[in-house]
Symmetry: C2
Subunit: 526 residues, 2 copies
């Protein structure tokens, strides 16, 4: 059997395979595309060695050259956009337009270009200088980064193209990409273009490497390997926590973006003033991409009463009127079925959906469930089961106090949203709810659904455990996403000529931001 | 038996004890001071509940008030300095003068005052604003912080007085201090003053709490408790890694400052130009505080040759001439004996010392060992055994390449030092060595021993695992040390009046530094 080559140590070569697999077209349920290898540890081992060599060279590579790579790569992606988008569509069933071609692809290249700007500018390394003591510090790249991307964003979070990739490269870390096995061809096309761009811009050959799939034990071994600087993982909680345990035990940093049910609190005033719009926002947000977003609104909290009932009725109507999309894979479908069943068994009432739809492909009816806050509080863990997909759970609370009790029992989430109307009473209610919700979520939104995640320095696509592994970091937003792949390096009594340029008295670009003696400045040091 | 009270929930009250202990005077080896309780889980549980309540109040407390507490506390420490220093001397045998009274105490109050400035100024929270998208983010306190201080800095790293304490409080996190059981009275005196200052400045009563000792299983349970925001631990690797495993498994951040042997590379040119001074620097640094510093130079790397031999001879002389100090505890002595034995068994040659000294008290002869780089490379793990105390291992390498091989096998360390002379050849050697050493250490020093750790924003008292748990963070330096106890909190589409003041268009103080649309500024947003 002819298996696709892996990209290791600057060469597309046959994998030392211990198995093989194919992608599955979610619209038909049939295998599609070529055969891909499951790599042995030997492939990992070689890739790690090569990554270390590449890292040693990258440490001496100017940010400008890294920037050129990222920009050239973005251009090459655009030149091959049609093929990439087509492959992603075949492997994920996500719509070509607008989703893949008009939203996710431009986001991907935009992210790479933002990362290029950061690499060129250098301010991401946060130079900090105490001139009196001649102590100076900087954030420096951690070493080779293993990126394990998720199933739901084949481009913008792709292992060889997405946010973690861009952030790691901008920091100066080589990337060892482990493709998500649901879209190997998409990832291969990216890696092909990345590798061409690597060669065109003269970066070390192993700056980008690609493996398609590993045995579980090799994955655990990989994230714990001392040659690795860090891992960036986006995906399911079950797999992520296993990787975390392995990496933690070895003291290797691992950044996880795991499950999140993204509570949305809709206060009575908001319903009074804006019910139809909110129903529409909610349905659009929850069913977008068939609900397969990490920021999907999976939990809606309402205060009991006629407005809540109206909201629920209209949401049900809308969920029933909206044609359900195709899920990413059979695994997603099975997991969704199991999660909805679990919620029902815990005592949630099924309002609509709750069943697999006839094929071809992986389809599930748009689903809404409801439960009282009192019931929720009896079993808060189970009611927070993430039903990844086109499903959401409504919780109705008797009063504000009970609502806040529910919030207090929430696990860490990426986002939390409050819809509030005007008026002083509503404002007081907002304050109360926000006080409880704030520490449980990474991003707090007002009157806006959480699905959109802008790439800006002010973004937080992170949050308390178990939404992520560490609440200080964000997976989206440049420069902050870059910081995950850095270590703090201090220079004490080191003479000028031996310092990194960013730490010398003279500002190397004139535009580099540095924290000098307690002030942020772009000036030289006198 | 009358046991000392614990400070829980704003009250000095009897512990629910499961045991008791006394400190030991290291100069006599005899128990000293009153009896202290080993707390049950019940005490932890109550303290955690109280800390959560205090945190809810602290979230609404202005930085100015927190600053006043820190300043008032510093004043109270100064007013009781003599008694504190006396207690610390009795419990640790560290000299009253200069060490405790003139170095460590002023450092402690200085640190608290720097933390006060940070709390007042507010810039530590790194407000980041995207005006176009109205997305804004800030670092916010994580929640109650458990501080477990080490044995070797009873004041400046004390659980209720030191760097972690100051950083956590400045962030707005209540501190649950777990005293190091070698100096409970010192810690109690601090906590008494802290609690008085809490009351004087109107902070929540449980902002500072104190337990003296826990059963191991309760310590593990404590750092994993979901009510805790994070833990700051300074101490031995063995205990630290157990706590890390427990905290990691529960997804609770834990910041560790563990062992470090702090390699010092002395290049031939430096020896040629400055041998006597370097010998003196080395002996002073290595024997300071009887070598019981986390930044103690425990590994010296030299190139074989006559200058290295002279250095070693003179170092041995100086170690033999210097009267050895008293070690902190019987445990430290036993550990030192075992570590030196282990190094010898691995093949290191004992040059001087290597034996316990006759009592009273815990004394060990100043110790130097040596081993060839070739031998080191055969067993790099064992030769990196930390011999915490007045001991150091010399490694002589045949050439620069072998020297770098040794460096490549080093575990993560807090510091790495290179002494280099002048001249172009030496400079090339420096570059080669520094390239290998840089990624393995948090702070790189030139021509200066690593023992001093200045409290400045540019400091890094951190480093790669296993020197710490995460190489991105530092335990010393304000504001960076504060960041450990924060989570990133983003506000998306939130109207002005609901934002934290630091994120509103108007700069609340006019001096707050904010990152607005890619620029650091103290200006209002137009």
């Amino acid at each position: 059997m002819q298996l696709q080559a892996v990209l290791v140590a600057g060469r597309w070569r046959p994998a030392q395979a211990v198995g093989h697999f194919r992608a599955v077209n979610p619209q038909t349920g049939e295998p599609c595309g070529p055969d891909y290898p499951v790599s042995s540890w030997h492939d990992c081992d070689q890739a790690l060695d090569a990554a270390c060599e590449a890292f040693a060279q990258l440490r001496r590579t100017p940010g400008e050259q890294i920037a050129r790579f990222l920009e050239r790569y973005a251009e090459r992606i655009e030149a091959r956009a049609e093929q990439i988008v087509q492959a992603a569509h075949e492997e994920t069933a996500l719509p070509v337009r607008p989703r893949l071609a008009e939203v996710e692809l431009p986001r991907t290249t935009g992210q790479l270009r933002q990362a290029a700007q950061a690499a060129r500018d250098g301010s991401w390394c946060r130079p900090t200088i105490d001139t009196k003591l001649n102590i100076r510090s900087i954030l420096a790249p951690l070493g080779p980064v293993c990126v394990m991307g998720p199933n739901n964003f084949p481009l913008a979070f792709g292992s060889a193209s997405g946010g973690d990739f861009a952030a790691a490269i901008a920091a100066g870390c080589p990337v060892l990409a482990k493709a998500h096995s649901s879209h190997p061809t998409t990832t291969r096309l990216f890696a092909e273009e990345a590798f061409e761009a690597v060669q065109e811009t003269g970066l070390p050959a192993a700056t980008v490497q690609l493996l398609y799939r590993l045995r579980h034990e090799d994955g655990l071994r990989l994230v714990a390997d001392p040659r690795l600087g860090a891992t960036g993982y986006t995906g399911s909680r079950a797999s992520g926590l296993k990787l975390k345990a392995a990496a933690d035990a070895a003291g290797r940093p691992i950044y996880l973006e795991l499950s999140s049910i993204n509570p949305v609190v809709i206060l009575p005033g908001a319903l009074q003033e804006n019910l139809e719009q909110i129903v529409q926002d909610f349905a659009t947000s929850c069913l977008l991409g068939c609900g397969q977003f990490c920021t999907n609104p999976g939990l809606v909290l309402l205060l009991e009463g006629e407005p809540a009932e109206r909201f629920i009725r209209q949401a049900v109507e809308r969920f029933e009127q909206t044609p359900p999309g195709v899920l990413l894979s059979g695994g997603v479908l099975e997991n969704l079925k199991a999660s909805v069943r679990l919620l029902q068994e815990a005592g949630a009432e099924l309002l609509t959906g709750g069943r697999e739809l006839p094929g071809p492909g992986f389809r599930y009816a748009n689903t809404l469930l409801r439960v009282s806050a009192a019931r929720f509080l009896q079993n808060p863990c189970e009611f927070q089961t993430e039903a990844f997909g086109n499903s959401s759970l409504m919780v109705t609370a008797a009063d504000a106090e009970q609502l806040c009790q529910v919030i207090d029992r929430l696990e860490g989430n990426l986002t939390g949203t409050i819809y509030a109307g005007s008026g002083q009473e509503e404002e007081q209610l907002y304050e109360q709810v926000a006080f409880h919700l704030r520490p449980r979520v990474g991003r707090l939104l007002n009157n806006k659904m959480p699905t959109g995640v802008a790439v800006t320095a002010a973004m937080n696509h992170g949050g308390p455990y178990p939404a992520t592994g560490h609440p200080h970091f964000t997976a989206v937003g440049i420069p902050p996403a870059i910081w995950r792949f850095t270590m703090l390096q201090c220079y004490d009594n080191v003479p000028q000529h031996r310092l990194p340029e960013a730490l010398r008295d003279r500002n190397p670009t004139g535009t580099l931001w540095r924290y000098v003696d307690g002030r942020w400045t772009q000036e030289d040091i006198a």
